[in-house]
C-alpha cells in the first residue's frame, strides 16, 4: 500500500472509532467527549493561524467566546442557536481581520502580547457590559436545540452534534489547506520576505490566517454554550487562550491531526489528574516541558521521533557535499 492509502485507512479507522465511542460512554463521559470535539475544532482554527501560517495568537479564546455569547443571545431571544452560526462566523472573520493588523508590524512574542491584549479587552467587555452579557454572573440555562421535534438535548445526541461540528470544521480547514492558499500560508510561515519577492501577498494572507482561524473557533463556540448550559467571561479569558495554544503545540503545530491529539490531552488530563488537586498544573506543565524537550513536533510527530530513534536516518547517496 502507498503512503496515501495508509493515510486514508487511518482516517477511516479514526472516523469509525469516533462514531462508535459514545456508545461506550455515560453522561459524564459524553459531555467530556463533546467538549473534546469542540475544543479540537477550535484548535483546528488556531492551528491554521499558528501552525500553518506561523502567526502566534494568544487571543483565540475570544473567538470561542464570541460564538458562545452569540449563541446564548440567540437562544435566549427564542431564535434557536442556528442563526448564531453564520453570525459568529462573520463576526469572528471580521474581528480576525482586524486582529491580523498587529501581525503586519510585529511577530513572535510581541505578537503574542498584542493578541493577549485583545483577549483581555474582550474579556473586560464580557465582564463589564452586564446589560448584554450578564457580567461576572454570565448567562444561565442555555438550552440545547430541538430540531423538527427531534430533541438533541440529551448528552448522547449532543455528543454527535459536536462530532459533526468537528467534522465540518475539519473538512473546511482541509479544503483551505490543500488549496493554493495552504501553500501560501506555509510560505508566509517559513519565510515572509522570500514569499513577498515571489509575488505572495503577505499582507492579505496574514489577515486571512487570523480571520479564518477566528471564524472556525467562533463556529465551535456557538455549540459550546449549549453544551455547558451556561457561560461566563472566565471561560474565554486569556488563560484559556494559553490553554488553546498549548493544545495546538502539544498536539503538533502545523500537523492536521495535532489539535485532535492536543485537545484530548487538554480535556482529559485535567479530569484524570483531578485527584492531584492544585498539583495538577505542575504535572501538566512538567509533561508539556518533557514533550517539548524530547519531541518538539508534538504528539503528532511522536511516531516519526520514535522511528528515527530506532533506526539511523539513511544517508542520501546522491547528496552533494558542500
Amino acid at each position: 500500500m502507498t503512503a496515501g492509502r495508509w493515510r486514508l485507512l487511518g482516517v477511516l479507522v479514526l472516523i469509525a472509532v469516533l462514531l462508535a465511542f459514545p456508545f461506550f460512554l455515560r453522561n459524564y463521559g459524553l459531555n467530556l467527549y463533546a467538549r473534546w470535539a469542540l475544543i479540537a475544532a477550535a484548535g483546528i482554527g488556531l492551528n491554521l493561524t499558528v501552525g500553518y501560517a506561523g502567526q502566534v495568537s494568544l487571543g483565540h479564546a475570544a473567538f470561542l467566546g464570541f460564538g458562545a455569547y452569540l449563541s446564548a443571545f440567540a437562544i435566549k431571544a427564542g431564535w434557536t442557536m442556528w442563526p448564531a452560526i453564520p453570525a459568529a462566523a462573520l463576526l469572528c472573520f471580521v474581528v480576525g481581520l482586524a486582529l491580523g493588523f498587529p501581525a503586519l508590524r510585529v511577530q513572535h512574542h510581541y505578537l503574542a502580547f498584542a493578541t493577549l491584549g485583545f483577549n483581555a479587552l474582550v474579556f473586560l467587555a464580557m465582564r463589564n457590559e452586564e446589560w448584554l452579557t450578564g457580567g461576572n454572573y454570565g448567562i444561565q440555562r442555555i438550552l440545547r436545540p430541538v430540531v423538527f421535534g427531534w430533541s438533541l438535548r440529551d448528552s448522547f445526541s449532543y455528543a454527535y452534534v459536536c462530532l459533526g461540528v468537528l467534522a465540518v470544521i475539519a473538512a473546511i480547514a482541509w479544503w483551505i489547506l490543500r488549496s493554493p492558499w495552504g501553500r501560501a500560508f506555509a510560505a508566509l510561515r517559513d519565510n515572509p520576505i522570500r514569499a513577498e519577492s515571489l509575488g505572495v501577498n503577505v499582507r492579505a494572507y496574514t489577515l486571512l490566517a487570523f480571520a479564518i482561524g477566528g471564524a472556525l473557533a467562533g463556529i465551535a463556540g456557538v455549540f459550546f454554550a449549549p453544551l455547558i448550559g451556561y457561560i461566563d467571561p472566565h471561560m474565554f479569558s486569556g488563560l484559556v487562550s494559553i490553554d488553546l495554544l498549548l493544545i495546538v503545540i502539544v498536539g503538533g503545530s502545523g500537523r492536521f491531526i495535532g489539535p485532535l491529539l492536543g485537545a484530548a490531552v487538554g480535556v482529559l488530563l485535567p479530569e484524570w489528574l483531578r485527584f492531584m488537586g492544585d498539583w495538577y498544573l505542575v504535572a501538566f506543565g512538567a509533561l508539556v516541558l518533557a514533550l517539548m524537550a524530547w519531541c518538539p513536533t508534538g504528539l503528532a510527530g511522536l511516531p516519526e521521533r520514535v522511528a528515527t530513534l530506532l533506526r539511523p536516518a539513511p544517508r542520501d547517496p546522491a547528496e552533494r557535499a558542500t
Binding site: A186, A187, D316, E319, R320, A321
Partner: protein, 247 residues
C-alpha cells in the same frame, strides 16, 4: 537607452554614509550582467534599492518602460522582476515541488479564485520541468529544509525562475557551493539564458564564475560604478585590478 531595466543616478545613504552613490546602468533583454566589487562596495544595497527592499534616497529605476522607483517587492514581483537573496531562502516546511509551485502560483487567477482552484493550479508540469532541469528529481517530494546546502541552493535559484520573470537578480548564487556544483550551476544558468532567453543580473565574488558566465560586468567600488565592460576588458583594466584585486 531602451533597455529592459534602466537605473539612473541611484543613491542610498545611511546618514553620512553613501552606500550607493549615483549608480547608473542598463540591462538589455537576453543579457547576463555581472556585478562585482569588494566587500562593502554597495552591491547588495544596490540590489535592495532596485528591488524595493529599501527606498533609494535619489535616482530612478525604469523597468520595461515604467518608472518603478520605490515600488514594493510585491509589486515588482508582479511586474516580472525576480530575485534570490544572499543567504538561502527556501520554504523549509514545504516539499521541493511545492516550493516551486508556490513560487509561481500567485500570478495565476485571483486570490479568491485560487481557494477553489485545483491544488496545483496547472503548474505541476512546469514544476516537473524545473525539477528535471535542476536535477532535483530524486528529492522532489522531500521537504526543502531537509536537503543539503547545495541542493537547497538549487531549489532557491529554480524558484526565482519558476514564475517566468522578465528579469532575475541573483545575489551570490555560487557562495558556499562546492566547486563541482558551481560548474553545474554555471551551465544551468547559461542554458536558461540560451534556451529561454532568461535575463539576469548576478552579484558574485567567484571571478572565474562571473567571467565565464556574464556578457558584461559592472565593477563597483565605494558605492560607485568603477567600470562596465566585457569580461576581457574588466580583467585587463588596471583600475579594476587595483580596487578589487588589490594588486
Amino acid at each position: 537607452m531602451s533597455g529592459l531595466l534602466s537605473v539612473a543616478g541611484l543613491a542610498k545613504s545611511y546618514g553620512a554614509i553613501k552606500a550607493v552613490d549615483g549608480v547608473s546602468f542598463e540591462v538589455e533583454p537576453g543579457e547576463i550582467l555581472g556585478v562585482i566589487g569588494p566587500n562593502g562596495s554597495g552591491k547588495t544595497t544596490l540590489f535592495n534599492a532596485v528591488l524595493g527592499q529599501t527606498k533609494p534616497t535619489a535616482g530612478n529605476v525604469r523597468f520595461d518602460g515604467r518608472d518603478v522607483t520605490g515600488w514594493s517587492p510585491l509589486a515588482l514581483a508582479r511586474a516580472g522582476l525576480g530575485r534570490t537573496f544572499q543567504t538561502l531562502q527556501v520554504f523549509g516546511g514545504l516539499s521541493v515541488r511545492d516550493n516551486l509551485i508556490v513560487a509561481a502560483q500567485e500570478a495565476e487567477g485571483s486570490l479568491a479564485g485560487r481557494l477553489f482552484a485545483a491544488p496545483e493550479l496547472g503548474l505541476g508540469a512546469r514544476a516537473e520541468e524545473m525539477i528535471g532541469l535542476f536535477g532535483l528529481g530524486h528529492v522532489a517530494s522531500l521537504k526543502a529544509g531537509a536537503l543539503s546546502y547545495g541542493q537547497q541552493k538549487l531549489v532557491d535559484i529554480a524558484m526565482a525562475f519558476m514564475g517566468r520573470p522578465r528579469l532575475v537578480f541573483l545575489d551570490e548564487p555560487a557562495a558556499g557551493v562546492n566547486p563541482r556544483l558551481i560548474g553545474e550551476l554555471g551551465d544551468l544558468l547559461r542554458r536558461l539564458n540560451a534556451e529561454r532567453d532568461a535575463t539576469f543580473v548576478v552579484i558574485e565574488h567567484n571571478m572565474e564564475f562571473v567571467m565565464s558566465l556574464c556578457h558584461r560586468v559592472l565593477v563597483m567600488a565605494e558605492g560607485r560604478v568603477l567600470k562596465v565592460g566585457k569580461p576581457e576588458e574588466i580583467r585587463a583594466d588596471p583600475a579594476v585590478l587595483e580596487a578589487y584585486l588589490g594588486v
